[in-house]
Symmetry: C2
Subunit: 365 residues, 2 copies
């Protein structure tokens, strides 16, 4: 892992140089884990990795975190600078960068820390680091792809297991709790999220599971995922309990057709915005455009949502190794929702679906 992290740091420094950045400043976040393997908690005491095109990377840490930072994967490679409680960490950070350059800060850095840096560096210009790191992280290496594949397979197995358990007569909350257990039982280190949205609740894409009991005739949106060796799964299937509600079958087939069309559009050299377009086209043609409430998908890896995004306006052109979700949906207030989601990987000559769970309409007990 040490070589991989050193290589990533070099690539980040090179990418920063190409973009004219004076430095990239990274706090505790997936960016820091990606670049160094160090994963402290984000806290009110700033920890900052400083990556510069013209200098070795340095890590500014609270004094009480220094021993932990030193025993992290790159502890012996990074120059460590410790600041003590009562000192001004932003002034210390300012001494590590050019006072008037453009600085990229990791997207998840806390606003309080960015404001501290802006105060200490009044002549600097700040931009989000996803512009420089997002592109690096978007293209997965073979080991990352292997983890994403295994996470997807564990999510597929979780879907089969929850269908076998049955949904009728159970509360959304209880099904969500079983999904979390199944994600771990099937190989995830932890569950990340479990959406169970029955009947009209399915019309809320990010519904929080409630005490509502799942009944015959409900459509149920199941959207869940977890982390496996740091990499995430994310799958959605919409099933019906015993029988489909009125008007459901046609909407389901439409979403399935849209998802197929979007996956078929994935290939190297294709703008990701066209994948969104491909999903949206059949849904708009059928008159449900306004009920497709969200973008078609999001990149996935160390984060459940990360660049690139399958949405109009995203400038990303697909390249082999990119992984993202394809998840069109239609949401009918007061009635039901339908969403079908798989993770896909761009291959040298097309696309690989990482999720294999059947997409034909499933009737469960």
């Amino acid at each position: 892992m040490r070589d991989r992290h050193l290589h990533r740091l070099e690539r980040a420094a090179r990418a920063a140089a190409e973009r004219g950045l004076a430095a990239v400043l990274v706090g505790p976040s997936p960016d820091l884990a990606y670049l160094t393997g160090y994963e402290p908690m984000p806290l009110e005491r700033p920890t900052l990795l400083v990556v510069r095109p013209d200098a070795s990377p340095r890590l500014l840490v609270p004094a009480l975190e220094a021993p932990a930072a030193r025993s992290a994967p790159l502890g012996g490679d990074l120059e460590l600078l410790a600041w003590r409680d009562g000192e001004d960490p932003y002034a210390a950070a300012a001494r590590l960068v050019a006072p008037a350059g453009t600085l990229a800060v990791d997207d998840r850095l806390w606003a309080a820390h960015l404001l501290g840096l802006q105060r200490a560096l009044p002549a600097a210009r700040f931009v989000p680091a996803s512009g420089v790191l997002g592109g690096l992280r978007a293209v997965k290496d073979p080991e990352e792809l292997d983890r994403l594949r295994r996470a997807a397979a564990a999510a597929d197995a979780t879907f089969e297991a929850i269908c076998a358990s049955g949904l009728a007569g159970r509360r959304e909350l209880d099904v969500a709790a079983e999904l979390a257990e199944l994600l771990v039982a099937n190989g995830h280190a932890r569950a990340a999220f479990t959406i169970v949205a029955a009947g009209p609740n399915g019309a809320s894409p990010h519904h929080e599971p409630t005490e509502r009991t799942i009944r015959t005739g409900d459509a149920v949106v199941l959207d869940f995922g977890g982390a496996l060796e740091g990499y995430h799964s994310d799958i959605t299937r919409t099933v019906v309990v015993e029988r489909a509600p009125e008007g459901f079958a046609a909407v389901y087939e439409l979403v399935r057709e849209a998802q197929e069309a979007a996956v078929a559009a994935v290939a190297p050299g294709v703008p990701i915005a066209e994948v969104d377009r491909a999903a949206r086209e059949p849904i708009e043609r059928a008159g449900f455009g306004e009920r497709f409430l969200h973008r078609t998908g999001h990149g996935i890896g160390l984060e459940v949502h990360e660049p690139p995004y399958a949405v109009a306006g995203d400038p990303t052109v697909l390249a082999p190794g990119m992984t993202f979700s394809v998840e069109p949906g239609i949401y009918l207030d007061g009635r039901f929702g339908v969403r079908i989601e798989d993770i896909v990987a761009v291959t040298p000559d097309g696309v690989e679906r990482l999720n294999r769970a059947d997409r034909a309409l499933r009737t469960v007990g």
Copy 2:
């Protein structure tokens, strides 16, 4: 709860007015939970509560989160504005505030969102919201105090249980896993952190548990806490296995004396910086000042660390209802560490210790 949240929103608006703020902008964070009871995940799609002195609070949400926001505790009270994927959420937020005022943003808002707001509001001035919300959140109401008391009692019970389990011959990692289980078994909804640092590892205040086996003659720093109905516990005890290492007893007594002195200094009207001073004084006098690597304590509530901070320079004057940790420590590289931590509450006439676990040196098997 609805009345309590509406009251908090009113107080926040009033506090913003007193500080000359045009608005307070709050993303998914403990600040949002405190003000509204709504607890969405922080994501790349911004959710922003806008609190203004001169207008009703409004909540800007991604369209796909709107149904969930509507069914949140204040869903019927807040004016909801939804933005759709592909639209510019920062431009939408900019329309909700005066273009040139001072805006407070919650400390945990992601940098990517703050940069978006700064781009959309080039004439505004941004400051951290802890300056206005930290003071409100620092003073707990009776129900919050009750939760913190119960969380502390559950942490005390966890300490007694782990001592009864014994430490000798076990790996730090295994003891940490048992602590997490015990925190939940004793009433927490979840464990938040579990530090187990044996022998020389104790010299790292935020040591991550390892495979090191705990042996006779080790001093072991146990620092752990969890969340109970949203409110946190946080306790540290340092115990010895069978017998104390050389030089340990005197250092332990010094830390205990420092902790007693700091707790004794707590009273309404006292600057919190004096609590830090009281802990530091005996340790400096004994020549260990440089080995007391951190501040004396931190506020606690919805977050494990929140304002006020017991550190030189914190301007907070203690008031009844404030709760914070008192946790001096001495760290001797290559040998051991000692830290003793309790949560205390400021009462109308002094101090209440929320943690009651014995602070006399404990020898365990």
